[in-house]
């Protein structure tokens, strides 16, 4: 579904991604883990069309319609079902919860469908439904994360890119968010690429994982498999085993 072939991204004079290649299959949860500055966020920004690769290519493989990511504008990628839930949630704090959700479905013209999608989000996260006329800045960190995920779901993603969904959340809230992500994958078949500092947690729910360091993918494998490789954890993730 997602395919990166030797993607290199340069910012200023730094090569922030260096020939990154990996694929994410349809219906898969993939985890992208690694230390700070390894290039994880840059990978996601490239995949959502915000950064252009200097060389190499990335594709969104839809049935009968492979879309080259480096040649597509961000809005075309969203329309195709590639939705990015950015680091730090980035909700629109001055706007209401309802407006935030409607913006998630910005490219959808069908009002009835948008209403139905919003009901689905409210079923998933009832707190958003209770407070939908309030400004989003008043929500707690965990609720803002729910809003960020809900907003991403409004676009009916086929592939969801999640950047640090656990950032700044209490352990219980983190668990709730991860349970939701697993459920979205199982019940709706949403393919996911999750970037996480909390590597253990991400690798536990992921089918496959990719470890990044210094702008490269240094190790790939099954989620469980990587978890059991103490060399990987120690060397790249700073986890004591």
């Amino acid at each position: 579904m997602l395919r990166l072939e030797e993607v290199t991204v340069v910012r200023g004079s730094t090569r922030v991604l260096d020939r990154v290649s990996f694929t994410v299959a349809k219906g898969e949860i993939a985890a992208l883990v690694g230390a700070n500055g390894a290039g994880k966020t840059t990978t996601l920004m490239t995949l959502s069309g915000l950064l252009r690769p200097r060389s190499g290519r990335a594709f969104l493989d839809l049935p009968g319609n492979p879309l080259e990511i480096g040649r597509s504008a961000p809005d075309a990628l969203v329309a195709a079902g590639l939705v990015h839930c950015p680091e730090g949630r980035q909700i629109f704090a001055k706007l209401t919860i309802e407006e935030n959700l409607r913006l998630g479905a910005y490219l959808k013209r069908d009002r009835v469908a948008v209403g139905r999608l919003m009901e689905e989000v409210f079923t998933l996260f009832p707190i958003l439904g209770e407070r939908f006329k309030q400004s989003a800045g008043g929500l707690s960190g965990g609720e803002q994360m729910m809003l960020a995920i809900g907003r991403a779901l409004m676009a009916e993603p086929k592939v969801l890119l999640l950047d640090e969904p656990s950032l700044g959340l209490a352990p219980m809230m983190t668990e709730r968010i991860f349970d939701t992500l697993v459920a979205l994958n199982r019940e709706r078949g949403v393919t996911q690429l999750i970037v996480e500092q909390n590597a253990m947690m991400a690798l536990e729910i992921a089918h496959n994982g990719h470890v990044m360091a210094g702008g490269r993918v240094v190790e790939s494998g099954g989620g469980r498999e990587l978890l059991e490789k103490s060399s990987v954890l120690e060397a790249y993730l700073g986890v004591a085993t």
Binding site: P74, V78, Q90, I91, L95, Y106
Partner: protein, 297 residues
């Protein structure tokens, strides 16, 4: 109320409306991309000369001219954005500052080159100069038309930003350009729309300016543009309501200064406006309606 007082109030209302029409565009553009557009006032000049050209050439019936002028302003505002400002959108603020200043000077000099420096008499249907009784006073019809249209359009713009899909997209861009793009909002289109709408309102202000004061010239946008900028700052940059209130406050203050001080002082009206701005900013640095906000890098 005396005849003189009513006349002064009407003058304040008219002048304030003109400032407000220009100021809301300033505020809209700044709100969406944090660009202080010094070329914005020159769209008044474009609107005024477009009007004069259309009237003198007899190309359109009068009723259609304001609409054509607004369309022309929309196109001019959009074209300036596309040609001059789009490529520097991600540049530091100071770059945008210099470029808008350059565009302003370029437009003025282009005007001088094509139109010459001599002020021209504005052509306006006589009906707008007809006197209307307002209590004990008589005022020109245009003095009633200008505030009514300006307030109506400012209200429409505020509703547009509050309610419509494009308006919400503009607010989203204003708050977080990156996240807005991740929603599938095309920044280019929304920014173009902001410049177009601002340009349409400024061009209409140019038409009104000519109608009210009777003469236009290629540099006519400079001082009103600066004052509308002052109005925006007084109201709080980025707030539409603030720009409207700032515009009227400035219009009334200026008229009061000229109308109620010794005649010899009236030459200092522009200085007074800037002193007023400084005083207000000393008390409220973010303007009357602005929110304290960190500057976006």
């Amino acid at each position: 109320m005396s005849d003189y007082l009513i006349q002064q109030i009407v003058n304040g209302l008219t002048l304030g409306s003109l400032y407000a029409l220009v100021a809301v565009g300033f505020s809209l553009i700044y709100g969406v991309i944090r660009l202080v557009n010094f070329a914005h006032g020159d769209l008044m000049m474009i609107g005024a000369f477009l009007t004069l050209g259309l009237v003198a050439g007899g190309y359109a019936p009068w009723a259609a001219i304001p609409i054509l002028v607004m369309l022309g302003g929309f196109a001019a505002g959009g074209a300036i954005e596309r040609l001059a400002f789009r490529s520097i959108r991600d540049a530091p603020m100071i770059t945008g500052f210099i470029v808008t200043l350059s565009v302003s000077v370029a437009l003025q000099n282009l005007g001088l080159l094509i139109l010459g420096g001599q002020p021209r008499n504005f052509l306006f249907p006589e009906i707008f100069r007809s006197r209307v009784a307002l209590g004990p006073a008589e005022v020109a019809l245009i003095d009633i038309v200008i505030p009514a249209v300006a307030l109506g359009l400012a209200l429409a713009l505020a509703l547009f930003i509050k309610k419509t899909r494009l308006g919400i997209a503009m607010r989203a861009l204003s708050e977080n350009m990156l996240a807005a793009q991740l929603m599938g909002i095309s920044a280019n289109r929304a920014v173009l729309a902001a410049f177009g709408l601002g340009g349409a309102l400024a061009a209409l202000a140019g038409l009104f300016w000519g109608g009210k004061f009777g003469q236009i010239d290629p540099l006519m946008g400079l001082v009103p543009g600066l004052k509308a900028f002052v109005a925006t700052i007084i109201g709080g940059v980025g707030s539409i309501m603030g720009a409207v209130v700032g515009g009227y406050l400035l219009g009334f203050a200026e008229v009061a200064f000229v109308g109620f001080t010794p005649p010899a002082w009236s030459g200092y009206r522009d200085g007074f406006v800037f002193v007023l701005m400084i005083l207000i900013l000393l008390v409220r640095p973010q303007g009357l309606f602005g929110r304290e906000e960190e500057e976006r890098a």
